[in-house]
Homo-oligomer: 313 residues x 2
């Protein structure tokens, strides 16, 4: 008979890669954990971990078992969360990931308020790129993601939060800074600065330019693995070219010495959503989180503008 304890040991062992640390994390001794892992392997008739290497890694079938074990564990935890929610106590651990081009601007807006409203919720936040967040959500290593959508992943559920228009960010002394709005033609001869590969904003920016019939945008050769939009902005300010920034980033105006110029209509816009796996059942905490975020977002972003064009991820 499989036990939930064994499944817990399994995921700990995968996480720590050796029996000693995993045992410590589970508050049991190493032989106890060894014994239970072995018993489970015997019961199931498969080898789950390849012990011939250090750190220990799951076998291919072991990996599948581990993924499924995480499902079982989180679904079990959901029983207790169900009860908390029925008591109107929003509580428990919530693992949240945000994309880098959203996290520094969005998190400060709602975090404090959310945590004071629901002090029993233990938020575990990380910053990751879209592809990693999708993977982690699918593997139940994460509860919710905040990213640009639509993703077209049918095992994930998207809850759209707001629509974020893009802006051009250029140096004060540049030609672009003189304009009221930026249209297709205006960008042709300027140097475009982009984030490193893998950042969805990079792709979105390129798509904006492509839609603007700038077939081959002049891409600057400066690219940043850090994924820091702020670094990019500093470079814009020091005359290396222009870039495209999303609305929430633009609002950090005070620190910027460059010019933020809106696009002419239809304004390119990205959709930002809260994304969960289909198996996520904590509807109470989910709705409270969505509600908290929406209440902190500038109201003009909440409605679908008439003259927007949506840029997919």
């Amino acid at each position: 008979m499989i036990t939930l304890t064994q499944l817990g040991y399994l995921v700990a062992l995968e996480r720590y890669g050796n029996f000693r640390q995993a045992a410590k994390a589970c508050y049991v001794t190493q032989p106890t954990l060894s014994m239970q892992i072995k018993k489970l392997e015997d019961d199931l008739g498969v080898v789950i971990f390849d012990r011939s290497i250090q750190p220990i890694k799951p076998t291919p079938i072991g990996q599948k078992i581990l993924d499924q074990s995480r499902v079982v564990i989180s679904q079990t935890a959901a029983i207790e969360e169900l009860i908390s929610e029925a008591r109107d106590e929003i509580s428990g651990e919530l693992r949240l990931a945000v994309i880098p081009t959203l996290s520094p601007y969005l998190l400060p807006l709602f975090l404090a308020k959310f945590q004071s409203s629901y002090p029993k919720v233990q938020l575990i936040i990380e910053e990751s790129r879209t592809s990693d967040i999708i993977e982690a959500l699918k593997r139940n290593k994460l509860d919710v993601g905040l990213l640009a959508t639509p993703l077209g992943e049918d095992s994930l559920v998207e809850h759209p939060l707001f629509n974020e228009p893009f802006y051009v960010y250029a140096a004060k002394q540049s030609a672009l800074a003189k304009l009221e709005t930026v249209s297709d033609q205006d960008l042709k001869n300027e140097n475009l600065l982009l984030l490193a590969e893998g950042h969805c904003l990079r792709e979105q920016t390129l798509r904006v330019c492509r839609q603007s019939r700038i077939k081959n945008p002049k891409v600057g050769d400066l690219q940043f693995a850090s994924g820091s939009l702020e670094t990019l902005c500093r470079l814009v300010e020091t005359g290396h070219g222009y870039t495209v920034i999303p609305d929430l980033a633009r609002r950090w105006e005070s620190r910027r010495s460059g010019s933020v110029i809106p696009f002419s209509t239809p304004i390119p816009t990205r959709e930002v959503s809260l994304v969960v796996h289909h198996s996520f059942v904590r509807s109470g905490i989910l709705s409270k989180l969505i509600q908290s975020i929406k209440s902190c977002i500038p109201s003009e972003l909440l409605k679908n503008g008439l003259s927007q064009r949506t840029i997919g991820i």
Copy 2:
């Protein structure tokens, strides 16, 4: 600490409605089951079962816990099925439900072949109406459903199997029987026989008539709670009117003394799908089942005809 054993006792107790029978079904004694249920209730701090009535019923929060427990149990079972599938052994229990207007014609086509191909699969089949199947799938009381789609339920996944055209069934001596194909106008003055409320075929038939611009079809006052299309056919044959039958039913021709007349193009058609809950992870058995059914379906139903019009459920 919640245990899987306790969750198993929980669902048994709900199913049997009393401790004695539930205990028997779990191969333990009544005090053992009583004790574990009580322990779980104490641990969770909620009353799961209302013992003041007979048979015992879950409290509202208990119902939620039970639904979630079924999820945990089936997800745990999936671990073992995962291993079986990795060994190319398609096995385990599969709870299947079919709508009444499909079951007598579809099941005989694939059942024997499927069971001989995968003898280790224990099929548990029931006949239910669409709404009950949807509910049971959502509550994890069922693994797969065979019904007319699309359902528009986003917690369920539909795997379309084939498109089933509708036919008119009329008595040999009726005016309709003289026709090559039936068009809009031909049905106006005839008496339409329908299945009882709740059968999706009833709604589909009415929709066909509505699409044919027969605003108010002459509905016969004979309706059948049994949901038996066969009874309906007998009535057609004895001159009580005409009815609409799906393609697979039509193929049981040998026993029929009435006339089956095709619709003129575009032919009204329903989509038949295999439907599972999003949490269903046994992809191996699923694909084998889909494959088995498709291989037994007349090939002309597998392709989307050019001149069909699809009738939703």
